[in-house]
Subunit: 291 residues, 4 copies
């Protein structure tokens, strides 16, 4: 029984094929698109209710979506909803859950027995502490024997804690207590539902190279999905958010002598929307202190 | 292009037929279901991820949904999403928007010219101020000539303000300023998206007889829609929320001498779930001070 | 430098003395009130802005607060804010963080080295799996030798994982990776800020006897604090929420033949507010089907 | 009774003097700081819990606050809370309430009689519709006689509707109905509570020159207050948010040939933090495609 096609947004054929497909992440994890509501058309539809009869000319959807993204008119993007099934290590889940504007149902270690599945890093992501970034990994190499030792420590620790867990369960200790020594590398899973605006915010922070590698893997898998469901919104997100650069007041103090007051008509042809062109010219004015 | 049917929740045939249908509300308003994601099955699906392998027996969906509702396990209900298109007077919109956990795109009087449509109450809802309820209407009658006068005042005022609006627009005054004398009885419209848990909360407050009549009309129209999309969840909501009664500590002080310590097996047959039966017995114990 | 006393709410002297005091929880944890804004007076102040000039008689604060609580007029309670510093095991933190309407800053294992502090249960809270409640502990005893074995398993596992952590740190493995085998029983800490309405909701769920023992300990400690800061709101919360009982439609089917249609004037004297009295009478009517 | 001074944040003397002061806005409105919790010190305090023992050197507060602002580490800013009393026209309130992460108690026209106070624009803010910005005013002049006519229309309309309101009240029509023809220019008032992070977001959008003049007036008044309560955070907000410029991928295509790959040591002296300096150099690399 499928729903009618009037102004419902059914997604591109590519998007529909994504449903239920497991995108493998790390050694045992995955992201799976369970359901979604809306597509690029729903963003436009919601934005246009604001313009009502006042909109005499039909703006092209892409131009409108790009305008909304540039101007942080975020509410139309909230009209698209995604629901994912995710299997992920607990330490990743602990970073993920900090994004509060989302809905979650997680596997419960109070109700159920946790399966024996743990995250073990691939050899090439075992890295030393960064010296410049207190919270990250360096790009330097770790000697092979130390990498091996890390894997052994992790493996042994996981086995040791799971044996203890099993022994407590065999002695009929309550699950909610028996689980407390299980490590953060244990896999859990959840259903996670979020609107597109908040998902973009999540992706911006978690695709970033300062994010921990293990959560980036999941963010990148979701990005592949989002790209297919809302290709125009994704393109705008890349052009105006992911690949934009924000110059602070101090940055501008240094750069303003390099940035011209005007540029040639030829150079401006790169803008395919007069709105974006005007915004660029406004920025030039502002940088050059005419604002 | 319809989406595949695996674990996607497509709603009952009755629900699908609701899409795009305008439910008339008041003289010019409506509620229209634009899209939805999920159904009773999605609530169960999300709840069961919590139970994981631990759930050996397949609980019946209805029993599970009713259990979740009674125990305020609200997150599985958040997994169903509704999107409505609503046309409503501004004074109703002002009450409605107080429900913050929702997404909104409203027609904008800054961008667009407001249409000439105003709320006028039906004769029989023109009521005097309640004496017992500072914020409501009495059930008493208003004399016919006064009712007529009310209609005239409202009609004249609406015409007067719209003429002023038009004159300012004709003089090319900016729309964002010209609109400021339009009355709260003017119609606006919006797209409104909300999850089922928060929608139930909205409906509980706005179906209540203390809610203003004009917002109740919209809440009741949405209730008709919700009932069709998630019939099991709606039934549980009626039985355990809408038709429940909460007795305070003081109420119980009065009633405890009337409430028996035990009731007969015969009387307990009304409970079709052993969970609900046990919860009832726990309440009896608690009322009788054994807890 | 203290703030002036006009309509600012400074709290009772008892409340002020709570600031900075560590309330010990479990073996290494604590709750500490870092700051708060508002008191019972702020709830009343915010509620009265709704009544404006219309409120001719000065209602007593207590009566108003109790009225707001009974009627779920929750927004005035949102006007009081609490900020706690909490040290807690990670498995408790994982339950706690599910309350989304709050602000959190947590100690970071990516930035900093985790201290060697783990939760070990007291002997008398080591309990078997409940047979009736899939997610809880039974009240039954666990044989002494098994309890001892549980403590040994936990202790050994904690030591084992911390030794592995240390060895990885000594080998200069990045902190964000070295920490992944630390167990859920490890202590973390955070600043947690929340408004009173949402705090009441948290306390209602986490003081409940179905909540896991280890989070109840923290909820009960916070309850002691809240009680001192907003004594009137707390009293209303106890009388109308914690100690209330909700009877479902089915419960009422059983009990209605026991609940009288009327009770004597004498019995009604227990109500010290005419509003609450009227609400009680309305409930009697509703139960007896006159509504 | 004042609270102790340990790690509570009491604000600067300038901030304390702001309490209860009415900042006049428009003809009858105001913003008044009713209470606040925290100051610059609370932001630092919350951020440092993340660094725990790992932070060996004491970073200067200002540097830390500026770092947090640049990197959108927003949670420490959520630890400061403001409560305002605001009197504002309803059409402004309707824009304002779209900011959902805040707490509100508004004067109720259902409970209380609305006072006879309306917004009338000053002569010099009566402007024609903008031709370039569909939702705004042009900077052009409106002829004096038309401005006068606008004032007359607004005045007359306000008087007309208030007379109607009064007549209905005199006939004992319920307040919730009598009010529906009152115009959007009527003043209402509310208590509004919000954390600093969300307040900055509000201010960014509402101080912007594209915001409607009438809400900008309120935003600017609140900015004066915020500046005094959290001077360091405000400075960072100005430097890194308000006065920053975001260059999109397309903007950078045009400008990259002007932006140098390196700048002189001399020019870099403008950065007083090595972190900010490094971030600037990273941006140069990224613009020049080395990233």
């Amino acid at each position: 029984m499928s729903k009618p096609q009037n102004d419902r947004a059914e997604g591109t054929p590519e998007a529909v094929q994504l449903l239920e497909k497991e995108f493998k992440c790390l050694n045992h994890g995955f992201v799976r698109l369970v359901d979604y509501m809306g597509n690029d058309g729903s963003i436009v539809q919601a934005a246009r209710v604001s313009y009502g009869k006042g909109t005499k000319t039909v703006k092209e959807d892409r131009t409108l979506i790009r305008y909304l993204m540039r101007h942080q008119h975020t509410t139309p993007f909230e009209m698209v909803e995604f629901k994912f099934h995710v299997k992920l290590p607990i330490f990743v889940a602990r970073q993920w859950i900090r994004h509060r504007t989302a809905n979650v149902n997680e596997y419960s270690g109070r109700y159920s027995i946790m399966p024996d599945e743990f995250y073990l890093p691939e050899n090439d992501v075992i890295k030393p502490q960064s010296l410049t970034n207190r919270q990250g990994r360096s790009d330097d190499e770790v000697p092979a024997e130390i990498r091996k030792r890390v894997i052994d420590i992790l493996n042994d620790g996981q086995k040791y804690s799971f044996d203890g867990y099993n022994e407590m369960l065999e002695n009929n200790i309550s699950r909610e207590l028996a689980r407390i020594n299980l490590p953060l590398s244990l896999y859990t899973q959840w259903y996670w539902k979020i609107d597109l605006h908040n998902l973009f915010h999540f992706l911006k922070l978690r695709i970033d190279k300062h994010a921990q590698y293990e959560i980036r893997v999941f963010a990148l898998a979701m990005a592949e999905i989002v790209k297919k469901v809302v290709p125009l919104a994704w393109e705008a997100f890349e052009d105006y958010i992911l690949n934009s650069i924000t110059l602070t007041k101090t940055d501008l103090e240094v750069l303003k002598r390099y940035i011209p007051k005007e540029v040639s008509e030829e150079e401006l042809k790169v803008f395919d929307s007069k709105y974006e062109l005007n915004e660029f010219l406004e920025k030039l004015s502002k940088i050059n202190g005419k604002d």
